[in-house]
């Protein structure tokens, strides 16, 4: 009986503690972070985009990616939905929306608090002060947790390489940006659907466009708050879900999603030794008491037997 009670108490204690600690979702801090000041971004205005795919061509040239299976001026590829691949950092898709055919360019959104950077266990991703989220292939182990983490399903992997597979994704042309140049896609866009500048300014510009043309735009700048905010911002004439963009991602940045769980680690390290040695000590004490009680009982029984013997003899 005493054993099950001890075990019961032990498990309740451990379970209660782990439940209480495991349930905390909030970050171990209540600080608010604004991001790097003067961080850059790109504003994509889907109302202006004509789906010409010139941006894909420029991206391919600037990043020295392999030649495509079908040429960039082949617009029949728009008949199917495509996603980023190890050979294409960005793609344009056509969507048949309530306002007719629309086009959206997809690429890494260079989040303010990137899920890929949070997930990477070798810190292969860096959010630069210029705004680009860049990848360092020299430390990547290839675990692909970043691909699990990215809510926009952007990172791709070179599964066909046996020795040097890499994650491939848009770099916001960081090497060009630090030299004062524009990203390849922004520079080439014939309709200026892409606009590069400080994120603060982009949001102002986007809001201004919405204010000026309320019938043309949906009153929401996608990326302003999604997943804690992204550097690639979108304007749309139709609800974003009609362009295949998820409207249910919420505003919590990725690092906050796992910070609660990470906070449990030091709690367990600090408290489990105390809890477990405490249980061990109680167990040993309980055993000692049981031993002692047994000895007393035997003693008593022997004394009683001797007394009986003596009484019988008289």
């Amino acid at each position: 009986m005493s054993i099950s009670r001890r075990k019961f108490l032990g498990w309740i204690g451990a379970a209660g503690l782990s439940t209480a600690l495991g349930g905390t979702v909030t970050a171990a801090t209540t600080k608010h972070f604004e991001g790097y000041p003067d961080s850059r971004g790109v504003l994509f205005d889907s109302v202006l985009c004509i789906g010409c795919r010139t941006c894909e061509d420029a991206c391919n040239k600037v990043n020295e990616l392999p030649p495509p299976d079908r040429p960039f001026n082949d617009l029949s590829v728009l008949n199917e939905k495509r996603r980023t691949t190890p050979k294409t950092y960005t793609i344009v898709n056509r969507y048949n929306s309530s306002k007719g055919p629309l086009y959206r360019k997809s690429q890494c959104n260079h989040c303010l608090e990137p899920a890929c950077a949070s997930a990477c266990f070798v810190r292969a991703f860096t959010k630069t002060k210029e705004g680009a989220v860049i990848y360092d292939a020299s430390v990547c182990v290839g675990c692909r947790y970043c691909m699990i983490a990215c809510p926009f399903e952007i990172p791709t992997y070179e599964y066909d390489k046996a020795l040097e597979p890499r994650i491939m994704k848009c770099t916001m042309c960081h090497p060009r940006v630090i030299k004062g140049l524009l990203p390849g896609c922004v520079e080439i866009c014939p309709t200026e659907a892409l606009y590069f500048g400080k994120r603060k300014d982009l949001i102002r510009i986007a809001r201004e466009r919405i204010r000026r043309y309320p019938d043309r735009y949906v009153d929401h700048v996608y990326g302003e708050h999604e997943m804690g905010g992204t550097s690639w911002l979108y304007l749309s004439g139709v609800p974003y879900r009609e362009m295949g963009m998820r409207e249910d991602l919420g505003v919590i940045p990725a690092p906050e999603l796992t910070s609660g769980s990470l906070a449990v680690v030091p709690m367990v390290v600090g408290l489990w030794p105390v809890l477990l040695t405490g249980i061990y000590a109680m167990t040993k004490r309980s055993d000692k008491i049981a031993e002692r009680e047994k000895e007393i009982a035997i003693d008593k029984a022997v004394k009683a037997a001797r007394k009986e013997d003596a009484e019988l003899k008289t």
Binding site: G23, R83, C140, V141, T156, T258, W272
Partner: protein, 390 residues
């Protein structure tokens, strides 16, 4: 699987050896393809599905089923349940082999396995739950190795080294529980970063607690299951103490598993209420969730309880299989089935036969190693030179 039990006369071409041999040859061939053709040559992984059964089964299920090590040694050394002492070495062996094979499987899955030490020696991604998993698994594998080493040291007659290892039992056991609590729960926490990809019935801030509690259930059930198999195939290796204690172990662990399953069931319900996810139960995924919760959590809890009450070892043994299948189902659900539930079926994942081939190959290596060790080293019996007082 049907070894001759007459000592000294063993046919090399037993059924098990032939099957294992074929599996090993196929496994080696797939290994060659994997490292010459890349992951694409042997898996159905894609950019939408970066993790397949090598993570879902070999890592997630493997680590859960190897939990018997910490659960059993905690029960015996921390909670003082000395009557289960004979279960410790088999559980530690299963744990050690389990974790060793998990690390082997990771060498197949990650893109550059020679870089697996990088998080420790190059750059530390300390914001990552995976960093914590990697650190804890590496440390715990070391702990398990040291705990296991007392058996081969006895076998080799290295008395002094063996005595040092045995003196470390308490420290290693406590460290083992600490490390196990952390990485068992963190394997679940991996998925916290992707709320948009995991079905709401499985995504919960309580995933880490769920994974930790189910690791206890898995450990308890695996000890019962593995004891059943050991009795079937290695009875001749078991000494008096083992044979005497094994029924009590099944009853005791069955009782514990029943209780923990019941507690787990309750906290799953609380998870539903916390997330206000009742309406999802009406959907197809909801039905599947109820299959997992009722058929593989509530039912084994109930069956274990009956088995303990009427002292039916047979029922307890079969229930342990059900409970283990439930753990496998849960890990598969979180990682593969309820994950990416929003994608069209054309983008969903199903393993390539070669992925299954490698997983079977790895399990087979484990069985071969288990058999080698158990037939030579004092796992199922006590070495006559080292009769420890209980």
């Amino acid at each position: 699987m049907f070894e001759e039990t007459t000592p000294g006369r063993k046919s090399f071409f037993s059924l098990f050896n032939i099957c294992a041999g074929i599996i090993v040859v196929i496994g080696l061939y797939i290994t060659y393809l994997r490292f010459t053709g890349g992951l694409e040559a042997v898996t159905n992984l894609s950019d939408y599905n970066p993790w397949g059964i090598w993570i879902g089964f070999d890592l997630l299920v493997g680590v859960a089923l190897a939990a018997g090590g910490y659960v059993t040694s905690a029960a015996v050394y921390i909670f003082g349940m000395k009557r289960y002492h004979s279960a410790v070495r088999p559980a530690i062996l299963t744990g050690f082999l389990g974790y060793a094979l998990v690390v082997l499987a990771l060498h197949y899955d990650v893109g550059r396995p020679w870089r697996l030490p990088y998080p420790f020696i190059m750059q530390q991604g300390t914001t990552s739950v995976l960093f914590e998993v990697a650190a804890c698994v590496a440390l715990y594998l070391t702990v398990l190795f040291i705990e296991f080493s007392s058996a081969p040291l006895e076998w080799l007659g290295l008395k002094r080294a063996r005595n040092i290892v045995v003196k470390l039992t308490m420290v290693l056991t406590i460290l083992g529980v600490i490390l196990s609590t952390m990485h068992q729960s963190s394997l679940g926490a991996l998925f916290l970063i992707a709320p948009s990809k995991l079905h709401p019935l499985w995504y919960s801030p309580f995933i880490p607690v769920y994974f930790f509690i189910t690791s206890i259930i898995a450990g308890l059930s695996m000890v019962i299951f593995e004891s059943t198999l050991s009795y079937r195939f290695f009875k001749h290796k078991m000494d008096e103490v083992h044979l005497q204690e094994k029924n009590d172990i099944a009853l005791g662990f069955g009782k514990a598993a029943s209780f923990v399953l019941a507690g787990y069931f309750i906290i799953k319900i609380f998870g539903l209420s916390s997330g206000n996810n009742w309406h999802y139960l009406k959907t197809d995924y909801g039905t599947w969730y109820l299959v997992e919760l009722l058929g593989f959590v509530a039912l084994p809890s109930f069956l274990y309880a009956i088995g303990v009450r009427v002292k039916s070892l047979n029922l307890i043994k079969w229930t342990s299989v059900l409970a283990i299948l439930g753990i496998i189902l849960n890990r598969f659900n979180v990682c593969l089935i309820a994950f990416n539930w929003h994608l069209p079926s054309s983008e969903r994942y199903f393993p390539h036969w070669m992925e299954i081939g490698i997983s079977v190959f790895i399990v087979t290596l484990g069985l071969i190693a288990f058999r080698f060790i158990v037939t030579r080293m004092p796992i199922l019996y006590e070495h006559p030179d080292y009769k420890d007082a209980h």
